[in-house]
């Protein structure tokens, strides 16, 4: 592991703690104790706690390929299966966390009630990049999806299903809620594929 700058250490710790405890429930003291840094070092790099948040959201945005898409899509070629492989990645995280998993972006999006414009833009940007990746899969599926289907809306619906499924699995502490959401989405795609084969 290459020597980490103070900035890297803080962002790394904050990504984990904001995810585990939320933004408001993570104190500067938490970040300092986790990183073994002193407050002077943190405030030298990040003038305020919100600046740490911005750094975290930028890191998620910039890391979507490496952190999320590549691991999920390593051995998957079929574009539709890529979508469900991505969801399978979330399922793994749910199970690995004993169903306490929350999407880091979605959780922040609901926790922060009056976010700074910069924060809000970054949340939106993270969602956009996610749905754009899924939209790419839908586009690559070509004629399997009927003409006239709004590809962007369908991609956003995949995010909708993921976020809603994660929320319910977490609330009930039961993966099956996520599984059922994915299954319904799968049926939706299958109905669409069937409709593409049998025009009107």
């Amino acid at each position: 592991m290459a020597p980490q700058s103070a900035r890297d250490k803080i962002i790394h710790a904050a990504m984990e703690l904001f995810w585990l405890k939320g933004y408001n429930s993570t104190s500067i003291a938490d970040l300092l104790s986790r990183t073994q840094l002193n407050s002077g070092s943190l405030y030298h790099v990040f003038p305020s706690k919100q600046d740490v948040l911005i750094g975290v959201l930028e890191a998620y945005r910039d890391g979507i390929e490496e952190m999320l898409l590549q691991p999920a899509w390593g051995h998957v070629d079929d574009p539709i299966e890529k979508i469900f492989a991505l969801l399978q990645g979330y399922r793994t995280m749910i199970v690995d966390t004993d169903c306490t998993y929350g999407c880091p972006i979605g959780s922040l999006a609901l926790e922060l009630h009056e976010p700074d414009p910069r924060v809000r833009d970054l949340l939106a940007e993270n969602f956009e990049n996610w749905t754009r990746a899924v939209e790419g899969c839908i586009g690559a599926a070509g004629k399997r999806i009927p003409r006239g289907v709004d590809k962007k809306a369908l991609a956003q619906f995949v995010l909708t299903a993921m976020e809603g499924g994660v929320m319910q699995a977490r609330t009930h502490r039961d993966v099956s809620y996520f599984d059922r959401a994915v299954k319904q989405l799968r049926e939706h795609f299958e109905l669409l594929e069937k409709a593409a084969k049998t025009p009107a």
Copy 2:
């Protein structure tokens, strides 16, 4: 308006403030200033802030008919249309809040990362009551939904779509994200209804 007990005043204020600002960002002082009560009165009724939260979640649970279902279903008979009338109610709230609306239950479910069992149970119970109501509509739709469709899973999928749509509309400050989620769900129901008519 009947004279309100201290308890009622606090629950009423807390429902609004937890919804507007979140649980962590609402202080006891906020509740006191909003209700014009003194801390002695509050702590006499609610030994801790978490007890206020529990009271709020119980109020949502006990008020689902009067607060949510009756207003949405007042003039709707068709069971499938009831589902979309319910979603239309959320749309109204989104628009009325300039797209800052968050589902009170969903937001708390994601904000609270290590909830007390009692709190977690109440969150789950709120979701259950919501999906049970939708499941009733699906059941009432009878043969319009194909046999073999998991009605409970489909009802949970309606909640999934609502929560995911609300989250994205709020993040982008744009109702159209909610509208697209509802539209996709509508297409899903239409595909199901079509499948129910043309067996295999």
